[in-house]
């Protein structure tokens, strides 16, 4: 009997596919998310748009919040640790969270090194905005990926950019010859073996969700249409006018992302989505996607 094997950690993410993982800030929101059909919740002290508004240093949530969320739902509970913050991750593992997000939404604790994730029993999800970041995170032991997008903006454009880029790069790698692959590994800054795997299979070896700007049912369906395995919604649900309706509608639009009449139906009378931010209005220092490359 073995725990924490790559199959067990990556398999857990496989079971989330086609689902929606929702950010929640307390037990009540977690129950709303579960009742709406979320496949997991991310327990946080503040959603990304609030982190943006508050400024200052964003850290791992208070363990009380994480435990309260774990106590009220039966679906998996995820929580965020700062990039490179080994101890926050160990603390979350000790609490028994089901997945750790080493996340650029929080203020990085280390500007160079990510957590060595393979030595943990609990699996990790990490953000990526291109194939190089994706494969570096996998090499460090991430069992699941998500596009970084631009968290807390309610603007899907960056998530679209990152997903398209990753798939475009995969298609390019598929068509390289062996000698070109050696060079490409060097250019991308990734291990050759992982790149060879992408070349041979035409896919990443782990599940890849979309995140960072999904605010409406149509946004979620767009990301599925572009090839995401599932959706993370951060501020999009509990910063909307009617979280319960938004949560249910985003779940249904994700499952039936090719049924446009259904997406139209679930999008009716939802009330206002979260207020969005135009990406070009962000100062370079406010761009979370540039953290942890």
């Amino acid at each position: 009997m073995e725990t924490g094997t790559s199959r067990v950690k990556r398999g857990m993410a496989e079971m989330q596919k086609g689902g929606v993982i929702m950010d929640v800030m307390n037990a009540e929101q977690a129950q709303i998310a579960e009742a709406a059909g979320a496949t997991a919740v991310m327990a946080l002290e503040r959603v990304p748009s609030d982190i943006r508004a508050a400024g200052g240093v964003a850290r791992m949530a208070d363990p009380t919040i994480v435990e309260q969320v774990m106590a009220v739902v039966s679906i998996p509970v995820m929580a965020k640790a700062r990039i490179g913050h080994y101890v926050e991750a160990k603390v979350l593992e000790s609490l028994g969270v089901d997945y750790i997000d080493e996340s650029e939404v929080l203020t990085p604790a280390d500007e160079v090194f990510h957590i060595s994730k393979s030595e943990f029993t609990v699996p990790f999800v990490c953000g990526a905005k291109d194939l190089g970041e994706a494969l570096r995170r996998i090499q460090e032991g991430a069992s699941m990926l998500r596009t970084k997008g631009e968290p807390g903006t309610g603007n899907v454009v960056e998530a679209v950019r990152h997903l398209r880029l990753i798939f475009g790069q995969i298609r390019k790698v598929q068509n390289l010859s062996k000698d070109e692959l050696y060079h490409e590994a060097k250019t991308l800054g990734v291990p050759y073996d992982l790149l060879l795997g992408v070349h041979e299979t035409g896919r990443l070896p782990v599940v890849n969700f979309a995140a960072g700007g999904v605010a409406t049912p149509s946004d979620a369906a767009l990301m599925m249409h572009l090839g995401a395995d599932g959706i993370f919604v951060g501020s999009g649900i509990f910063k909307s006018e009617n979280p319960e309706k938004f949560a249910r509608a985003i779940v249904e639009a994700t499952t039936h992302y090719e049924d446009y009449a259904l997406i139209a139906r679930v999008s009716k009378d939802l009330g206002a989505p979260m207020k969005g931010i135009e990406i070009s209005k962000l100062e370079p220092s406010q761009r979370m996607q540039d953290r942890g490359i």
Binding site: M1, E2, T3, G4, T5, R7, V8, G11, M12, E14, M15, Q16, K17, G18, G19, E34, G37, A38, T39, A40, S74, I75, P76, E93, G96, V97, D98, Y99, T121, V122, P123, V251, E252, T255, H256
Partner: protein, 190 residues
């Protein structure tokens, strides 16, 4: 042999792959109308609360009870096993309620307790590599249910006529023998 895989949420592609390896043809089933064109259905692993809610919403509960009534085989893995059970531990409302068994969800604990192990399954020669992820257990079965595998004294695989249930994930390995067994069941039911 066309085998549907309920494609509301979860490890759909993996089951379609395993069905292919076992010599069948896997099809993603998103609407109840598609059930007419398949010889059997796999309910995959995923989140049972999500899958159960979407099944209710899209008319799969009655459609699958009819499907089963017609003798068409159903194979539930992990969340799929929970969906098949007549009774859920803790008084939770059952979903399809087709198999005469009581199931406990997340019975091994949280994700850090998830594991893989070699498992002896009746009707399959050498041990099967079984991946358990936040897995459920079968606490008790009725007389009409045959126990096919146990782990540390707890039931993890069972069959009741044309219904098959496993608390682990045969679709996460290259060993497709359990899918082969299910294809045999579908062949016999035709």
């Amino acid at each position: 042999m066309n085998i549907g895989v309920l494609a509301l949420q979860g490890a759909v592609a993996e089951h379609i792959r395993s069905i292919g390896l076992a010599g069948g043809h896997g099809v993603a089933v998103k609407q109840p109308q598609q059930l007419g064109s398949v010889d059997g259905l796999v309910i995959p692993g995923g989140e049972s609360t999500t899958i159960g809610k979407l099944m209710r919403k899209y008319g799969f509960i009655d459609a699958l009870r009819d499907f089963s009534q017609a003798g068409k085989p159903i194979f539930g893995t992990c969340a799929g096993l929970i969906v098949l059970a007549e009774r859920l531990d803790g008084g939770e409302e059952p979903h399809l309620g087709l198999m005469n068994m009581t199931v406990a969800r997340n019975a091994f604990g949280r994700q850090r307790e998830s594991f893989e192990t070699d498992l002896d399954v009746q009707g399959i020669e050498s041990p099967l590599r079984a991946v358990f992820i936040r897995a459920p257990l079968i606490k008790e079965v009725g007389d009409d249910v045959e126990v096919l595998a146990s782990y540390k004294g707890e039931i993890v695989t069972a069959r009741q006529g044309h219904l098959l249930a496993a608390s682990f994930h045969p679709e996460l390995t290259d060993d497709y023998r359990l899918h082969g067994l299910f294809l045999d069941m579908a062949r016999q039911a035709r």
